[in-house]
């Protein structure tokens, strides 16, 4: 292997990068460096492509999950001849009746109401907490608070669901004088709690990433601290905040255990009265307020339905395909949210 011209001694022949004469040492060092560089390039190529492969596996997993869901979901429309519109906008979910009815509007509305309600609570709270941690909190407070908030994310959802079931359920019923605490509001409060760590952590990072010069410039111009936060820091961190909110929403959308335990799971369409043509606008508005924008009533989410019914369903039945279709729709909704947050993240990187 050695290209060293004077390496006739057996010892140097064994050790390729050692030569005796000055000239040959120089030549050897160059060829040795070249070889090392070549070897390094080779390994870099290997590592680079191995990482590419791992990345492709992740991409393939996403594509395969979607294909897998669609493979068992699409027969619902092609083999079982359900109309997609009737499936999505149907208001009767009676999967084991004769004849069975598969309308998931109640599930879509349930998921929407629970996710929207939790977002309305968790996003403002999360942003406020992030601003406090990044800009206002004394160092000691921040160093205790941030890890604690992140620990909140480590609590298993079934534990949160259990707390909700045993405690919050009864508090909500008594506080709002509801017939039962197993309603969307209880689920919303618990989901908001679960979204907070995600939102706070990412929003805090986004705010901390705003260049110091923005802050100092604003303060030097005589702006107050609050004014600086509002007019200089938050706009600069804007895209990161959007990403934080989106990831939080994704968390709420996919959560299963908590909603299964506390949201009530009735098949009534939340806010279904809004579509009733017999009611006057004023009556609808009054009912809307009375029902707490749907939060005081029970809600059945898409995730909870799949989780509770998948276990016993006959493989290949219409019900089976319907549950896969619910799952596929959920994957699509989740992907949309992730894509939106990705676009937002890209914008923050560019700025």
């Amino acid at each position: 292997m050695s290209s060293d011209p004077v390496s006739h001694e057996p010892t140097t022949a064994r050790i390729p990068c050692a030569a005796t004469s000055t000239a040959s040492r120089f030549a050897a060092r160059r060829s040795c460096a070249e070889r090392q560089a070549r070897r390094r390039r080779f390994w870099e190529w290997i590592i680079e492509h191995a990482l590419l492969l791992i990345g492709l596996v992740a991409v393939a997993a996403v594509v395969l999950v979607l294909l897998f869901m669609l493979r068992d979901a699409l027969p619902l429309f092609f083999a079982d001849h359900l109309s997609p519109l009737g499936f999505i906008f149907g208001t009767e979910w009676r999967p084991i009746s004769f004849p069975a009815q598969y309308g998931i509007w109640a599930l879509i509305m349930g998921t929407t109401i629970v996710t929207a309600g939790a977002s309305l609570i968790a996003i403002p709270l999360g942003f406020a907490c992030a601003v406090y941690l990044a800009e206002l909190a004394p160092r000691a407070v921040r160093e205790v608070m941030k890890p604690t908030v992140e620990l909140l994310a480590a609590i298993p959802s079934v534990v949160i669901g259990f707390i909700g079931y045993a405690l919050l359920n009864n508090w909500v019923r008594d506080a709002f004088r509801l017939p039962t605490g197993l309603c969307a509001l209880t689920a919303v409060l618990l989901l908001a709690l679960m979204m907070l760590p995600t939102i706070i952590s990412i929003a805090e990072d986004a705010i901390t990433a705003v260049p110091r010069s923005y802050r100092e410039g604003s303060l030097a111009l005589g702006a107050s601290l609050l004014s600086t936060i509002r007019h200089a820091i938050l706009p600069a961190a804007g895209s990161g905040l959007v990403a934080a909110a989106m990831l939080g929403i994704g968390r709420a959308l996919g959560e299963t255990m908590v909603v299964l335990m506390v949201a009530g799971n009735s098949i009534e369409v939340p806010l279904g009265f809004l579509g009733n043509p017999d009611l006057t606008l004023w009556h609808k508005l009054a009912t809307l307020v009375q029902s707490g924008f749907g939060l005081f009533g029970p809600a059945r989410t898409m995730t909870a339905t799949v989780a509770s019914e998948m276990g016993e369903v006959a493989v290949g039945s219409v019900h089976y395909h319907a549950l896969f279709a619910v799952g596929a729709l959920l994957v699509l909704m989740s992907l949309t949210i992730t894509l939106v947050s990705d676009v937002a993240l890209r914008r923050v990187k560019r700025s």
Binding site: N265, I267, E268, R300
Partner: protein, 298 residues
């Protein structure tokens, strides 16, 4: 060196011995595609309500008798009975009695079916301890669960919206309650659970909500009734006396929301089938019944 080799041989020999002792007798020849594989195999097919119970019996029976083999299949009571008539199963598990036609068909084929009640299915209707309602009729219960009756004062309680609690659709209890109470035993009835019914994921969760919520009503297997809730006596019809749910009233057949669970065999059971049936009716077998929240026969 020689020492090690001898040790290795010994270990190998022990392993082979254990392996042959462990798997040879329990694995009967397969590949015939039929459920009756060997003479010691007992095939059970039928009721989906009973499938978990049958499985539990099969597992504990096989655990005690190493050379016994029990194969359990669901499919519904009718499926099981049809399979029994065709000789494709040894035992038909059924949550209803065989019809006259089915018995006639079996007798014609030369083996009068033999019925054995192996357990009972009873469902208690529970309310909060503070609820003043003393009893309900099956018809009132059906009106409540279909959403026709929505306020407790309509059935003699304090004014307040009735909170309906039910089990999820994957539960046998959900199906039994629907067929027996909501549809009134008529399987072609279009009656459905009210849309406002909260479908709860476990019987324990129903008990817990009813224990804390004065307006709630729920139903659970008899085994779940605790002191935290009150099980309502149920009258089969208006004017008839209401009967409190208990293992005794279920066994006596006076409690209306109950049904016997049957094992049907082709003629008098014998051999492996008889041995299994004896186990099912033994104290051990009936303990399994209690474990799975059904009511034991004895």
């Amino acid at each position: 060196m020689q020492h090690t080799r001898r040790l290795a041989t010994a270990v190998l020999a022990v392993a082979v011995l254990l392996w042959s002792a462990g798997c040879a007798p329990t694995r009967p020849p397969s590949g015939t595609g039929r459920t009756r594989v060997t003479p010691t195999t007992v095939a059970i097919k039928g009721s989906d309500t009973m499938v978990n119970l049958n499985q539990a019996w099969a597992e504990s029976y096989m655990g005690e008798n190493r050379d016994a083999r029990v194969v359990v299949n669901g499919g519904g009571s009718g499926t099981g009975i049809a399979a029994l008539l065709e000789g494709k199963t040894d035992i038909a598990a059924s949550s209803r009695e065989m019809t006259a036609e089915e018995i006639a068909a079996a007798t014609k084929a030369g083996h009068a079916p033999k019925a054995q009640i192996v357990g009972l299915d009873g469902i208690a209707v529970i309310v909060n301890a503070a609820n003043p309602v003393q009893s309900l009729t099956v018809a009132q219960l059906a009106a409540i669960y279909t959403g026709k009756t929505t306020d407790w004062k309509q059935v003699g309680g304090n004014a307040g919206k009735i909170v309906l609690l039910g089990r999820e659709v994957n539960s046998g209890t959900h199906v039994f309650f629907k067929e027996h109470v909501i549809q009134g035993g008529n399987s072609t009835s279009p009656a459905e659970y009210a849309k406002a019914t909260l479908f709860v994921s476990s019987s324990q969760a129903i008990v817990s909500e009813v224990a804390h919520n004065a307006r709630a009503i729920g139903y659970v297997g008899l085994g779940y009734v605790s002191d935290a809730v009150r099980a309502l006596p149920i009258a089969p019809a208006t004017g008839k006396p209401a009967v409190a749910p208990s293992p005794e009233s279920v066994v006596a057949g006076t409690y209306p929301i109950s049904r016997p669970l049957y094992f049907y065999t082709r003629g008098e059971p014998s051999g492996a089938v008889k041995a299994f049936l004896d186990y099912v009716l033994s104290a051990d077998g009936q303990a399994v019944v209690r474990e799975l929240e059904f009511v034991p026969v004895t």
